[in-house]
Amino acid sequence: MKRRRFIEMSLLALPLSARGQANAHVSTIDPLVRSFTNGRDVLPGKVTLVLPKIADNGNSVPVTVKVDSPMSAADHVRSVHLISEKNPVRDMASFYFGPHLARAEFTTRLRLNGSQRVVAIAGLSDGSFWSDVVQIEVREAACTED
């Protein structure tokens, strides 16, 4: 195989191989992740984490999390966890849903200490975990100097 062809093919293969792979967004040995999942696999998908690509100020960044779920008694989302890569408190927030929640969706505002990856993990009633990840550029980090 010609070298150029090989490089083209490997570049194509990269995103494909990462798609659908368990724990693509999280580290299985991360104690924070384990505290939510108890060591179960976290599959990419079902969760949509909506964050701006660029935030001028990290002190207040709007975030919406949606999970693809009928929210019925038999099939619903139990919890959503938001994890920061760079904040001094990585465990930003956890949300637990009751039976009267109409949609597995909420919006709030985050504080982000610089450009980073933000991960959302959703725990479903069948015991499975799903995730999404967003890379966000924060122009002015929430103040945590020294």
């Binding site: 408190v89 949300f95 009751g98 929640l101 919006t107 709030t108 504080r111």
Partner: protein
């Protein structure tokens, strides 16, 4: 002075998804910030918020200073009967706040 503002539609149809918004006045002090004199500001953030609809828990948030000051939250409630929506929260100083008796009219 009210610490929280809740926004709800005046009326909802039975089984409809009702948009609920709450904003709470709170500094969500991170514990990493210093004032002009260089004195470190003690952490004081809301650590938990619970919303109940007719006594049943709808939404619970376990929070940290990773949530912005004056936190806001928006979610969708399935309203099947007229009833109260009660919010309760507590911060690092163990000070609890409530915003309650908001009536969801169906």
């Amino acid at each position: 002075m009210s610490l929280a503002r809740i926004q709800l539609p005046d009326q909802a149809a039975r089984g409809e998804a009702v948009e609920v918004r709450i904003s709470i006045r709170h500094p969500m002090e991170t514990g990493f910030r210093r004032d002009e004199g260089g004195v470190r500001q003690r952490r004081n953030a809301i650590v938990a918020l619970v919303c109940r609809y007719r006594g049943t828990e709808v939404f619970r948030a376990i929070t940290s200073p990773g949530i912005a000051a004056n936190p806001t939250l928006r979610f969708y409630l399935r309203a099947d009967r007229t009833g109260d929506l009660d919010f309760w929260w507590i911060d690092d100083d163990n000070i609890a706040g409530t915003a309650s008796a908001v009536r969801v009219v169906v």
